[in-house]
């Protein structure tokens, strides 16, 4: 009986089963087919991707499906350089807000195939999917986004999405 006990480690393991829900299931089915499906709110007419089942401003189901393309704009980004538990991507990596053409909201995505020093707000990007045979109803079907080679979008065209 010398040192006082100051720490007690209790391992805790709990398993969870998540339900994607209707909206996300439709979105993931689209992903499994290699395409991005957005949903439009019948009230405000905004197209959400990924859809979450209810329009965040109107509180109503977003029922109308919209097929979106494979390209979009980086509205803003950061370069992640911090290691942490559970991280699966090698640092440094570019984490960007990507506004797909036709969508009214950007979502977070990984950018690759461009040196971190060259990433810019307004850069046009395209999605890179896994091989067709590996497509599934999971976000892992989209490997990352890379520069599409098109000219950058002018700041004014996306500034409202910041």
């Amino acid at each position: 009986m010398s040192e006082p006990v100051t720490m007690l480690a209790t391992p805790i393991r709990i398993e969870y089963e998540f339900t994607a829900g209707l909206a996300q299931s439709r979105y993931l089915k689209g992903i499994a087919e290699g395409r991005f499906l957005g949903q439009r709110c019948p009230q405000c007419q905004k197209v959400y991707v990924p859809p979450r089942g209810s329009c965040p401003t109107d509180g109503v189901p977003t029922t109308d499906e919209v097929v979106l393309g494979n390209t979009g704009i980086v509205t803003t980004y950061c370069v992640v350089n911090v290691p942490f538990q559970g991280q699966s991507i090698e640092i440094p990596y570019i984490c960007a807000q990507i506004l797909l053409d036709g969508a009214n909201i950007a979502f977070m995505g990984l950018i690759q195939e461009v040196p971190t020093a060259e990433i810019r707000m307004g850069m046009r990007v395209e999605a890179v999917w896994v091989d067709k045979k590996d497509l599934g109803p999971t976000m892992a079907s989209v490997k990352y986004f890379r520069p599409s080679g098109e000219p950058d979008a002018a700041y004014e065209t996306f500034s409202e999405y910041l």
């Binding site: 007690l8 209790t10 709990i14 209810s54 401003t57 109503v60």
Partner: protein
């Protein structure tokens, strides 16, 4: 001590079907129709709400900040005055009710959701226990409830047949509740034939595992009268918590339920009176707990206890307490009761208890 000065009433109540597992809808999709329903019943929208408060638990659904996404079911735009407690929605309603005592708002939306099916609910609730001395032993809620039930049997006041009688009555009453998960017409003998899950508790004495959501709208004074033919006036509401160590509590009684009833104006302080109401909705997840609560409140045979079937018919954690309030208020709103009591509990073996007193008339219009 929480006597109502400004009359506030429940004017609308809605709940989802209470199910073993919601497989199709996510949290937002489960909540959204409930919110839409609670508004539709009184012809209001989110823009009419002075305050919004919800109750839910991150660990239950496996995500930090899980209440954030749930707000999408309401549509928090334009920005709203909104808050959240990591507790049963009944406590969110308490917060809303106290804030309605100030006169800058007239209405409030309260909601909660919970999906016990997602996780190992026993493990999640075990994490409520003292993390140094108790939780590492992993005593799950059924085992703790069994300790309490055994103590009750040892006191000589009740036996297993009484637990089975509560369960049987609850299931029979639940047949009239379209939202209930568990219903039926078992005899006491049938129920006593079940194997023990943890002695002395058999399956029927345990709550079901439930996914569900619920919502309530509160309104003050004349606004309540405009919105609802028979508002369920809150004549008092109070809640109290006991100490945490189970060994330091008398598990066969519920002094905080009694104390909360005093605070809610249903009992005189220090007296040995009994609560006289038409209906009592008691949040007793385990059958023997209903008996403890009845004794604490002195409920006589004239009181209809848990006409909804209670928590034995559906027990969405974080939701069942607010549902008790909604169900009790519903009896006043549909004219079948003049006075009602709703109770909600939190923590192991009835550690924390809330009592809400409801009536067809507001209490003495500001006399307190």
């Amino acid at each position: 001590m929480a006597r109502s000065v400004r009359p506030v009433a429940v004017v609308s109540f809605a709940q989802s079907a209470m199910v073993r597992r919601e497989e199709r809808l996510n949290d937002v999709e489960m909540l959204q129709p409930v919110i839409a329903d609670v508004f539709e019943k009184v012809g209001l929208t989110k823009d009419d709400m002075g305050f919004v408060c919800s109750g839910s638990c991150d660990y239950l659904v496996g995500a930090p900040f899980s209440f954030v996404g749930a707000l999408d079911a309401v549509g928090a735009w334009p920005p709203m005055r909104e808050s959240h407690v990591e507790m049963d929605g009944a406590f969110a309603m308490y917060e809303a009710w106290t804030q309605l005592q100030e006169d800058d708002i007239e209405t409030a939306l309260v909601f909660s959701f919970g999906r016990s099916s997602m996780s190992e609910i026993g493990r999640v609730l075990t994490l409520q226990l003292d993390p140094y001395y108790v939780a590492p032993l992993w005593p799950d809620p059924v085992a703790l409830a069994a300790l309490q039930a055994q103590a009750l049997i040892d006191s000589g006041r009740y036996g297993e047949a009484d637990f089975a009688a509560v369960a049987g009555r609850s299931r029979r009453d639940a047949r009239n509740n379209p939202n209930a998960q568990v219903s039926g017409d078992p005899s006491t003998e049938e129920l006593l034939g079940d194997d023990y899950v943890v002695a002395p508790l058999r399956r029927h004495a345990l709550p079901p595992i439930t996914d569900g959501a619920t919502a309530v709208i509160l309104a003050a004074g004349d606004r309540a009268r405009e919105l609802c033919e028979r508002p369920a006036w809150i004549t008092g509401m109070d809640h109290r918590i006991e100490t945490h160590a189970l060994g330091a509590r008398d598990l066969t009684s519920s002094p905080t339920t009694r104390r909360a009833a005093v605070g809610a104006g249903l009992l005189e302080d220090g007296g040995d009176g009994s609560v006289a109401v038409d209906v009592a909705e008691l949040h007793a997840p385990f059958a023997h707990q209903e008996l403890i609560l009845r004794d604490a409140l002195g409920l006589g045979d004239g009181v209809a206890v848990n006409p909804s079937g209670g928590a034995l018919a559906a027990n969405a954690v974080m939701v069942a307490g607010l549902v008790r309030i909604g169900e009790a208020a519903g009896r006043i709103m549909d004219g079948t009761a003049r006075t009602a009591l709703a109770h909600a509990t939190s923590g192991p073996c009835l550690q924390q208890n809330l009592v809400c007193a409801l009536a067809a008339e507001p209490a003495g219009d500001g006399r307190r």
